[in-house]
């Protein structure tokens, strides 16, 4: 096995040895690829909402009852809730007639209509939610149900991709979710909800 490693590295060395010069690492600013249209000084949640809607995301904000009512309105009455969020949302959910479990049982994957977990952050420029292992109580609960709700607080919103990269959390599984899961494999027709959520909610808890 180390033989193959050494063989490959030797080939690479031999391939590069004859080069008289190597291309230098170019100079550029971190925000070189940031869309100039973004207003960095404006309200980041407003900017986030605008961009999230462009990618068919569903931004909501308010007290826990707002989310509970929305779920009820969508006719979603059974799902998963991060145990750490339960003290905040439990009462409102129960009042809206939504039953939640705090352990995701993979054997009953089809029974969860929604999953509520915490977001690590959001990115205004792209309308993306940032999920991590540290803040996601169950990867499957944030992925398998048709509706995923990521709960977010003000102050957790990055202005742009460059900023989010700079402050990337140390975590083995950082995922930027930009709108619902989608495909255009069949005749280029956009279909949402392939393997991941068909509805991606960003809930700003006030």
């Amino acid at each position: 096995m180390t033989a193959s490693r050494d063989a490959i590295l030797k080939r690479v060395n031999d391939a590069l040895a004859p080069l008289k010069e190597r291309a230098p690492y170019p100079e550029f600013d971190d925000d070189v690829a940031v869309m100039p249209a973004l207003d960095r000084n404006g309200d980041l949640w407003t900017a986030f909402c605008e961009r999230a809607k462009l990618v068919h995301g569903t931004p909501l904000s308010g007290k826990p009852a707002v989310l509970a009512d929305w779920l009820h309105g969508q006719n979603l009455h059974h799902g998963y809730c991060d145990p750490e969020l339960l003290p905040l949302f439990g009462e409102a959910l129960a009042a809206a007639g939504c039953a939640v479990e705090t352990i995701f049982d993979r054997a009953r994957v089809d029974e969860y209509q929604f999953g509520i977990t915490r977001a690590e952050a959001a990115i205004a420029e792209t309308g993306s939610l940032v999920l991590t292992d540290a803040t996601t109580s169950s990867r499957l609960a944030a992925l398998a149900p048709w509706t995923h709700v990521a709960v977010l607080k003000r102050g957790q919103i990055f202005a742009d991709v460059a900023d989010a990269l700079k402050k990337m959390p140390v975590d083995p599984n950082v995922i930027w979710c930009t709108g619902p899961s989608r495909t255009a494999d069949v005749e280029g027709i956009l279909i949402e909800g392939v393997h991941g959520p068909g509805v991606q909610v960003a809930f700003l808890l006030e």
Binding site: M1, S4, I8, L9, R11, V12, D14, A15, L16, L19, R22, A23, P24, Y25, P26, D30, D31, V32, A33, M35, P36, V55, F104, R106, V109, D110, S128, S137, S138, R139, A144, V161, A162, L165, K166, M168, V170, D171, P172, N173, V174, I175, W176, C177, T178, P180, S181, R182, T183, A184, D185, V186, E187, I189, I191, G193, V194, H195, G196, P197
Partner: protein, 465 residues
């Protein structure tokens, strides 16, 4: 003899050609719209990305050991594979060590390149494609014909028929129904699988993070539901630092599908964390050479910058007419016309016709997010095909000996120009065979030669007046 790619294109059904045309055109339009509405000067970004990548591949001797050390520090097992066979053997060994029988596979071009599914199935293991397009390819025993849209050559009726044949419900060609059925079928497969396999769009040498750029969520599911994650990574996939991703992520999704970012951008830095109930207990990265170091030694090494966005396929007039399967290799289109002959190694002469499947219009270079000078590389490979006396490379090319003699002898040239007008009267059936092959698919231009000398003469006379 015609070039193989022409022969293939000539036999392509009108329906397939229409599918490919529509798919490539919509991809092309989306790219243009997205880049131009986002940036005043998208070209600047493309050139910058090209320079970062060129720097990276010219310094792989530094970056490969660096990324290996980072990965190990992140608790990832690193393996090296000289060729496809060795890469498959690594995967097989990792699975056997876990007593694993079932793999769910996210989209990776490298796995196509090394024929992983065949290898594992022959050894009694299940290897299931989970990307919708790739899944359809698998149940059809077909091959992908486009890098981003693998089933660009199929229409919904064909897909509905294969779903029906494979027991995935009665015939229904609504794309929404097709997708929902695949969703339902595949989610139970993820949950029952032992191993999740992915590729990598980028690997950061700085942090050892593997970056996956996807839309459907199948790679997320593969990495959330299974206990082992294996990533197959071509040795050219490295970027020096995390900050470089700001450039590449913004360009890749826009160039591929016209999205600002794909639905999911995943930064994988190892096995799951201790308090996370779902996801792999171990992660393996297999670095695959399989001909890449040889490409690095070639003066066409710039092709290793490629980030597999498919923009060059979408814009290419030859790809649009011939479709991806005409390129007889995993990588079709302009990128494939350069990469496939180079990766073929000693079999280069068999693939040497591919660099000729281009009108050298330059569109591929213009759209390429890493600014690869594809037309230049194609010319270099044409030259090499000629020098290596490849038969397929010579097909359809009229011998240039006569032209060379004329061009070297001014008096002969003059005479030829005077009589050239007669070519319009020359009946095609009297032409030598190479001439016939040439005019079968091309019209002869109206003769306009022989006027330059006369023009020059008058000018000189006027000037001296």
């Amino acid at each position: 003899m015609h070039q193989p790619i022409d022969q293939y294109a000539a036999k392509l059904s009108a329906g397939k050609r229409a599918s490919v045309y529509d798919g490539t055109k919509s991809g092309y339009d989306a790219r243009l719209r997205s880049l131009n509405t986002s940036y005043p000067t998208p070209d600047h970004l493309r050139r910058l990305a090209g320079r970062i990548k060129q720097h990276t591949i010219e310094n792989l001797d530094t970056y490969l050991p660096q990324v290996e050390a980072r990965l190990r520090a992140n608790g990832v097992s690193v393996h090296w594979a000289v060729d496809g066979g060795e890469a498959c053997a690594h995967v097989h060994r990792i699975m056997e060590a876990r007593g694993a029988k079932k793999m769910v596979k996210a989209k990776t071009m490298v796995s196509e390149e090394i024929h992983l599914a065949d290898y594992l199935e022959k050894r009694g293991m299940e290897c299931l494609e989970t990307d919708l397009g790739e899944f359809i390819i698998q149940i059809d025993h077909d091959h992908p014909s486009h890098i981003v849209k693998p089933i660009i050559h199929k229409n919904r009726r064909e897909i509905a028929a294969s779903f029906e044949k494979n027991g995935l419900g009665s015939y229904n060609d609504d794309p929404g129904v097709i997708t929902a059925r695949a969703r339902q079928f595949l989610r139970h497969k993820y949950l029952a699988a032992d191993v999740g396999l992915s590729g990598a769009n980028f690997v950061s040498a700085e942090s050892g993070r593997i970056v996956l750029v996807t839309n459907e969520g199948n790679s997320r599911f593969s990495i959330a539901a299974t206990k082992v994650h294996i990533a197959l990574v071509g040795i050219e996939k490295i970027v020096p630092r995390d900050r470089d991703l700001g450039v590449f992520l913004n360009l890749l999704a826009r160039s591929a599908t016209g999205q600002q970012l794909t639905s999911y951008t995943e930064f994988i830095g190892g096995a799951r964390s201790a308090n996370q109930p779902d996801g792999p207990e171990e992660m393996h990265v297999i670095f695959v050479d399989n001909g890449r170091a040889r490409v690095l030694a070639d003066d066409c090494r710039a092709i290793l910058r490629c980030i597999r966005c498919s923009a060059c396929l979408n814009v290419c007039p030859v790809y649009r007419q011939a479709s991806g399967h005409a390129y007889r290799a995993v990588y079709p289109g302009p990128v494939g016309a350069v990469l496939s002959p180079l990766l073929a190694g000693d079999n280069f002469p068999e693939m040497a016709d591919l660099p000729k499947a281009s009108s050298l219009c330059g569109a591929c270079n213009e759209v390429c997010p890493v600014n690869i000078p594809i037309p230049d590389l194609l010319l270099r490979l044409r030259d090499r095909g000629k020098r290596e006396h490849s038969k397929v490379a010579a097909a359809d090319t009229p011998p240039m000996g006569a032209f060379g003699t004329l061009a070297n002898h001014p008096s002969l040239w003059k005479a030829a120009m005077k009589t050239g007008g007669l070519s319009a009267l020359y009946p095609a059936f009297l032409m030598p065979s190479y001439g016939k092959a040439w005019v079968r698919t091309r019209g002869m231009p109206k003769w306009r030669g022989g006027k330059f000398r006369a023009w020059m003469k008058t000018r000189k006379q006027q000037a001296s007046k």
